[in-house]
Amino acid sequence: MNTTAFQRIYTKISQVTKATCTLHAQGVGYEEMATINGRLAQVVKIQGDLITLQVFSGTEGIPTNAEVIFLGHAPQLVVSDELGGRFFNAYGFPIDGGPEIDGKTVEIGGPSVNPVRRKQPSELIATGIAGIDLNNTLVTGQKIPFFADPDQPFNQVMAMVALRAKADKIILGGMGITNDDYLFFKNVFQNAGALDRIISFVNTTEDPPVERLLVPDMALTAAEYFAVEKNQNVLVLLTDMTLYADALSIVSNRMDQIPSKDSMPGSLYSDLAKLYEKAVQFPAGGSITIIAVTTLSGGDITHAIPDNTGYITEGQLFLRKDSDIGKVIIDPFRSLSRLKQLVIGKKTREDHPQVMNAAIRLFADAANAKTKLENGFDLTDYDERTLKFAKEYSDKLLAIDVNIEIDEMMDTAWVLFDKYFNEIEVAIKADIVKKYGKFKKIEENVHST
């Protein structure tokens, strides 16, 4: 990094901790960036002329006479159309060997949208995955996380969603993902030939953990550029937000802050909300949609990270392995998209809400039948049929490898209804059944299966 005339250089550090350095300096702005022997750092505390800097890559090997240069600005990102198809690190520097980006320099973590200027989200995002499109429909401007255990294939599902969603830009913010997962994303995006609409900001497990604090803001700043200035629909993928929150707790701990629940900083809710609330439908047509991953430990959603996330986001998607079919499915019971009401039956076929509810209710009946079976009770004919239905419903609609159009999802559900049930059992409004139902040969089907 070249030094220029206005930069001030200091060489006397008075205190070093694992993540911070403190020194005397004048005229320093809050949240200003600095370099310490070339390492990037940010001002986190000013007391008189005593400045505390958070060193992103850690303070290992920093001497008290290290060269500290204040850069006079908050963390920045250069934005332009050239971002498309590129990979960056947490500081927004290219890591794919390509040239520097030429464009406008903006500070990351900018201001919030005035709530009265927001538009109500109303455009559906199709992913082809029926567990999402049919049961938990996503809408532009929504923010929703996957709640998943670390062993579940959430990154694969995210990559799939990214490629299928009809977004103008897809921005990946990878925090603490393994190098293998980084290469996976890179590969998938490259093979899909969709690289020019994908931008990635990546901090892998090989990078220092505190660096990842910059990643979501980098990704969202790039997203705002395309959504506001180019009126594009931008999909932002953030994985894994649990590791982001862990980094927050590391920093707050080093700053001697009093931890609240689960050793998380007291400001966790505000910190997460500041990121997730960047999801917005702009009046001029652009939008930012956020799909995130929050890994759970042993499925515990009462932990501070998923708990606070649940209060902020508009629903959540749960992955579960269905042992009956040996595939991962989107759990229809625990998953929820709060904004689906804005589009289902309105932007989709009118039978959508009813088909969705009927199928889930029958799936729940199957779960009850299963419990009965496990407890050694006899099953009724209806129970038997729900079990068969559940298996096929799981396989043809809930599994994450499904990739069909929304109308086809509903048609598939109707076929299954017909195959295993009669009209009364399905209990959908008569006029809807008449229009879309496929009940023809009730008797034969029930007996032949």
């Binding site: 320093v28 008189g48 900018g110 949208v113 007291g266 400001s267």
Partner: protein
């Protein structure tokens, strides 16, 4: 001369200012950052250092920056034109701000100072007045907005003159008052009041006793709210807190609704912005937005202003109460407000209480709830502020500090149950775990006897008992198996299910079912209880379930039909016939 200062330290939005003169706790000051004034509030004073919380991001702020103190606390500006507005937590008009993004230091005035109103005087010269006395009125939307003697005026005053009826700007003097020293004090339509101090321009604050109809059966018929009462709704995420609050704001029998969206999702506020201008207010035939004021400080807006937002909303509510109106104040969610307190307490390095919340959290919460109430005004009229807050308990655990502190302060408790939400029994309020202390008030019981019926409170208690007995029976059935218990147990269970399905559950999205007037609630409650007190006989336990399911079905059809319409009475007849088919 006002006090000035210089920035001496910065930790996130906590700024330490070295001052050159006297400062006051909670005084407002402005930090001049590159010619933009950032608003801040003094929250601690130590020698010549004032600790201020900044209502904005402090990015790029430097030590040595100039700070100007205003000499006053955070004040709300009160006057005609507050209705239908969308304010931020500091009462800046969000609609007047330019651009899609909020800009630092962009403070839009809450009122339109150029606006003119048709004023009618309500006093004569020489009349004696006190703070809160009505000097005149203007019509705002559909309400009569009273122009009052400013609340800051202490003691007795005499009216020297008042302007004749006519159109005036809100900044015009509309009256001249004389204090006891014969000093002239001009009064305009605008006044200011510090938000953290309760407005006490009333003569008496009795125990509240008048029922506040909400149209939500599980509230009105089981744990009723009163005018001037307090209540809270805790619930894990996804249990329908916000849907319930929206239902209350749409249906409650109040003159005005003030919604404090405190640290919650922006898209939920957008829903109010989008829907309320379209929805009709059944009382006035006007649009809902005309009786609604929104104070929005969503979760991504500066955290210090989030704390202020609930106070701003309460002050506006108290202002309208002094005009003799019924106000319903809703705050979603008070947990976010408590978290804002925690963040500041933490930055000031105060010793923490439970879960790192400040030690005085219970006191702060109960002081706030105490501002609600039913009051007698100096002129003998009455007004009320009813306050219902939601609480978002961390991890759904009701033993956490915010829920516990609120439980001590609020008189009604509406427990949202995860189990009910999971089985789609909405609204997911558990009527048995919930309570309304007002049911025990003698004043309330008398009011109900006079205005609704003699047996209403009794019926509520009966219904609750049936539900409790049903639950006990259900547990026994689960342990001993369907055929391991007497048939009577199944009946007990299903009778409680009738109450659950017919009275407690309510379809918030159905035009008719979503709001039930009290007369209809009373009718249905009586009907349901009558049936629950009947004895039926069955050959075996598996005959019980279909029989009661059928009863529930008839009742539900009644719920979906216009009250006492032909459809309604037909279903009612079918129900009667069906029941007499089993009676022994």
């Amino acid at each position: 001369m006002s006090t000035k200062g210089k920035v001496a330290g910065i930790i996130s939005n906590l700024v330490i200012v070295e001052v050159d003169g006297p400062v006051m706790q909670n005084e407002i000051c402005y930090i001049n950052l590159n010619n933009v004034d950032l608003m801040a509030e003094v929250i601690k004073i130590k020698g010549t250092q004032a600790y201020v919380q900044v209502f904005e991001s402090t990015r790029s702020l430097k030590t040595g920056t100039e700070v100007k103190f205003t000499g006053s606390m955070l004040e709300a500006t009160l006057g005609p034109g507050l209705l239908s507005k969308n304010f931020d937590g500091l009462q800046h008009d969000l609609d007047k701000m330019d651009g899609v993004f909020l800009k630092k230091g962009d403070y839009a005035e809450p009122l339109d100072f150029k606006s003119a109103w048709k004023f009618t005087p309500l006093v004569q010269p020489d009349e004696e007045v006190v703070a809160g006395s009505w000097l005149g009125e203007v019509t705002e939307n559909w309400i009569s907005h009273k122009i009052m003697v400013p609340f800051k005026f202490v003691g007795k005053f005499k009216v020297k003159s008042v302007v004749p009826a006519g159109t005036y700007k809100i900044t015009d003097n509309i009256a001249i008052l004389l204090d006891t020293d014969n000093k002239e004090l001009p009064v305009t339509m605008i006044q200011k009041w510090p938000v953290k101090i309760p407005i006490k321009a009333y003569t008496e604050k009795p125990r509240p006793f008048r029922l506040l109809e909400t149209g939500v059966r599980v509230i009105d018929s089981f744990n009723p709210m009163v005018e001037g009462g307090t209540g809270f709704i805790p619930g894990p995420f996804g249990t329908g807190k916000t849907v319930l609050q929206h239902a209350l704001s749409k249906q409650a029998e109040a003159d005005l609704i003030i919604v404090a969206a405190c640290g919650e999702r922006a898209n939920e506020v957008v829903e109010i912005f989008t829907e309320f201008p379209e929805l009709d207010d059944p009382r006035t035939g006007r649009k809902l937005i005309e009786r609604t004021t929104i104070v929005a400080n969503t979760s991504n807006m500066p955290v210090a202003a989030r704390e202020a937002s609930v106070y701003t909303a309460m002050t506006i509510a108290e202002y309208y109460r002094s005009m003799g109106l019924k106000i319903l104040l809703l705050a979603d969610s008070t947990s976010r407000w408590a978290q804002a307190l925690r963040e500041m307490s933490n930055r000031m390095e105060e010793l923490p209480g439970p879960d790192a919340f400040p030690m005085d959290l219970p006191a702060i919460i109960s002081n706030f709830y105490a501002r609600a109430g039913y009051v007698f005004l100096p002129n003998g009229k009455t007004g009320s502020v009813t306050f219902i807050g939601t609480v978002s308990p961390a991890g759904g655990n009701l033993k956490e500090p915010v829920t516990e502190s609120t439980k001590k302060a609020a008189r009604c408790f509406y427990a949202l149950s995860q189990n009910r939400a999971d089985s789609k029994r909405y609204p997911a309020i558990d009527a048995i775990d919930s309570y309304s202390k007002y049911l025990e008030y003698e004043e309330f019981q008398n009011y109900i006897k006079e205005n609704i019926s003699d047996d209403w409170v009794d019926n509520i208690i009966k219904a609750k008992n049936i539900v409790i007995r049903g639950r006990e029976a259900y547990e026994q059935i689960n342990i001993l198996g369907d055929d391991g218990v007497p048939i009577d147990y199944h009946q007990k269970f299903w009778k409680s299910e009738i109450i659950d399905f017919v009275l407690m559950q309510q379809d918030a999205f159905d035009k008719i079912d979503s709001s039930t007037p009290i007369e209809r609630q009373q009718y249905m409650l009586k009907k349901v209880i009558d049936i629950c007190h009947k004895e039926f006989s069955f050959e075996s336990f598996d005959k019980v379930n279909p029989f009661y399911k059928q009863i529930i079905n008839y009742f539900k059809q009644m719920n979906y039909s216009e009250f006492k319409s032909e459809k309604f009475t037909n279903f009612e007849k079918e129900l009667e016939n069906f029941i007499s088919s089993n009676k022994n």
